[in-house]
């Protein structure tokens, strides 16, 4: 009776039994890496927008404060984008005829809202509250990066659950004094403190819940 398998199958069989562990491991690693990459998280990618609005020009160049436009960031669950009337506060006179601003003027005349592409968008199963993060001393820059240096807005941090938990497990590493939340360049060294000491003190002062509670499922998914 003839041999059904060639002799080389012995080696192939041994290698594939041994290699299966690595193949499965590699596949799992690849899946996780893809999910953390910009292809999925959009970190560093400027989405197409109806107007090429530059935060760098308005914030760093002109010195307009975040809250002049984003009025609800301190108290609302939703950090608003401004209505067209806020743009028109200045642009009724400044660069009124600029072609770049045509969509703004068209929206102003017609009352039809300008449709921006949302840059920071969490899954509908996450009940994120923007106001509480500001009130508890999380700086804009911690989650949004140096918006004052962005000519086009993009996501600076992945905003994955892993990323959220990295702070919820130990908020002291990111808490800052409330009056410095909107300061893009603040550092604990500016007031002669270390983040560890200052963070631990502010966590107590601002009554921030313990990690056990902050990492509970129902804190964000309720």
């Amino acid at each position: 009776m003839a041999q059904h398998f060639h002799r080389s199958m012995n080696t192939i069989a041994k290698v594939s039994i041994f290699g299966a562990v690595f193949i499965i491991g590699f596949s799992a690693w690849l899946l996780l890496e893809v999910n953390r990459s910009s292809n999925v998280t959009n970190v560093g990618i400027a989405l197409p927008q109806p107007v090429q609005f530059s935060h760098q020009h308005h914030v760093a160049g002109l010195g307009i404060e975040c809250r002049y436009c984003h009025t609800s960031v301190e108290h609302s669950a939703f950090a608003n984008i401004p209505p067209i009337s806020t743009c028109m506060n200045c642009h009724q006179q400044i660069w009124f005829g600029a072609p770049m601003l045509e969509p703004v003027r068209a929206s102003w005349k017609s009352g039809q809202a300008l449709e921006w592409n949302r840059v920071h968008n969490l899954g509908d199963y996450v009940y994120f509250n923007h106001g509480v993060h500001v009130q508890k001393g999380i700086g804009c820059v911690s989650c949004h990066g140096r918006v004052d240096q962005m000519q086009l807005i993009y996501k600076d941090q992945p905003h994955t659950m892993e990323w959220c938990l990295s702070c919820h497990r130990n908020p002291a590493q990111h808490i800052r004094p409330r009056d410095q939340v909107f300061n893009m360049t603040w550092k604990p060294e500016d007031i002669g403190e270390t983040q560890a000491a200052l963070g631990a003190r502010l966590v107590k002062e601002y009554n921030i819940e313990p990690a056990r509670k902050l990492t509970s499922c129902s804190t964000c998914h309720h």
Binding site: Q56, H57, Y68, T86, A113, D148, Q149, F182
Partner: protein
């Protein structure tokens, strides 16, 4: 021989079916349907309404519970007889002044300048200059007048009611009064115990914005 190879084929079918099932399951998981639930996020696009906005304007005359604006002195800056209010509707404490300073810095300095002379950045870029808060005719205006101007606008200045809540508008008026006092005061107006503070370097603004000289300089040539 034939029988054995048929058996091999069946085994292979089972493996491929398993792989296909795993891929299908994985692919279905990637749709993230829970991420896009059939409800609106704030400001989300809507196909239901003609203006494509899920944020609906309030019908005329709508009053949210607890938000009835029945006191013209507080909400309009005017007395019952229509004259501008001459007094603040609540006591002015240090807390109110600090709030006013912070909100003035956020909402007013771009045009009125940090000291209220009307030379802010937007004015430097070509916007109609507002009157100085320190001109005699501006100083004479009552607090209710300032409140009404912030609320409804005046001249080239649009109303800022949708950006600044009522209590903050009053706090800003209080801070404007403090600015006016500061630019028209003599050394005798400063309590003796506080005079040494005048020699100290000025404190940084409460919410010092991007103070990064690099980013500011890099833009100086790009004024549009």
């Amino acid at each position: 021989m034939l029988r054995i190879s048929r058996g091999q084929g069946r085994w292979r079918q089972v493996v491929w079916a398993g792989v296909a099932a795993a891929l299908l399951a994985g692919g279905a998981g990637c749709k993230q349907k829970m991420s896009y639930q059939p409800r609106y996020d704030p400001l989300e696009r809507s196909e239901t309404f003609n203006d494509r906005s899920s944020a609906r304007p309030l019908p005329a005359g709508t009053v949210a519970r607890g938000f009835l604006r029945d006191d013209p002195e507080v909400f309009l800056g005017r007395k019952e007889n229509g004259d501008y209010a001459t007094e603040f509707p609540f006591p002015i404490t240090e807390e109110v002044m600090r709030r006013g300073q912070e909100r003035f810095t956020i909402y007013c300095t771009m045009c009125h300048g940090f000291s209220g002379y009307g030379n802010g950045m937007i004015v430097q870029r070509g916007f109609s200059p507002p009157p100085s808060f320190h001109a005699p005719e501006t100083r004479e205006k009552s607090v209710g007048y300032y409140f009404a101007v912030i609320t409804n606008g005046y001249g080239a200045m649009p109303g800022h009611a949708h950006q600044i809540p009522v209590s903050d508008r009053w706090a800003i008026v209080a801070y404007v009064r403090a600015l006016q006092l500061s630019q028209n005061a003599s050394l005798d107006d400063v309590p003796a115990a506080h005079r040494s503070a005048l020699d100290a370097p000025p404190p940084a603004p409460m919410n010092s914005r991007s103070a990064d000289p690099h980013s500011a300089n890099s833009h100086s040539g790009g004024a549009r």
